[in-house]
């Protein structure tokens, strides 16, 4: 899992069934108050909103299961809303 910041929602008029009824957000890796790398998309599974600091399962089976189907065509999912980060790094 990685820590990301939600940049904002991405809405689609036409989308695959696995995305129906769920929000898709643009997110970017976030460390020490700074955004890193390129933005990518993640499916929201917890009711997060723009500007939130969240935890994202970026790939693999666990991110598919998080959205309720072990064979969903979903690559990244938002699985937790971060409250506090304590890190020496």
């Amino acid at each position: 899992m990685i820590i990301c910041k939600i940049l904002g929602p991405v809405t689609a008029a036409v989308k695959h069934d696995d995305y129906q009824g769920r929000a898709v957000f643009a997110v970017q890796e976030y460390n020490g108050g700074i955004l890193h790398g390129h933005s990518f998309l993640a499916l929201d599974c917890i009711g997060a909103g723009a500007g939130d600091i969240v935890m994202v399962n970026k790939e693999g089976g666990s991110s598919r299961i998080a959205c309720g189907h072990s064979e969903a065509c979903v690559h990244s999912t938002i699985t937790a809303l971060v409250d506090t980060i304590r890190s020496k790094e």
Binding site: P9, A13, K15, V24, A26, Q28, H38, L41, A42, E71
Partner: protein, 91 residues
């Protein structure tokens, strides 16, 4: 998943069985400000996207799951949505 723009399509003379009959699009990955951020990829279309459409796509084996959860397909990326709005430009 990523944001992308359809920039073309590919017609093949010969295909492996696991790809037969699929429409192949060329999609350029973009970031949330619609700036190019990677090399164009060839992917299968699931939502009838056309050239110039702003789309989102899924990579990895999840791309094949878009087609009735089949695992015998030779697909590693698939267009899964046609974007109507991105509200993240000022982030």
């Amino acid at each position: 998943m990523h944001i992308g723009r359809v920039v073309g399509n590919i017609v093949t003379a010969k295909m492996a069985d696991g790809l037969d009959g699929f429409k192949l699009l060329i999609v350029e990955p973009l970031d949330h400000r619609q700036k190019p951020c990677g090399t164009p990829l060839v992917m299968v279309d699931k939502v009838q996207a056309g050239e110039g459409d702003l789309v989102y796509f899924t990579t990895g084996s999840e791309g094949a799951f878009a087609f009735d959860r089949r695992i015998d397909l030779l697909i590693d990326s698939c267009v899964t949505g046609i974007i109507s709005a991105i509200d993240a430009d000022n982030a």
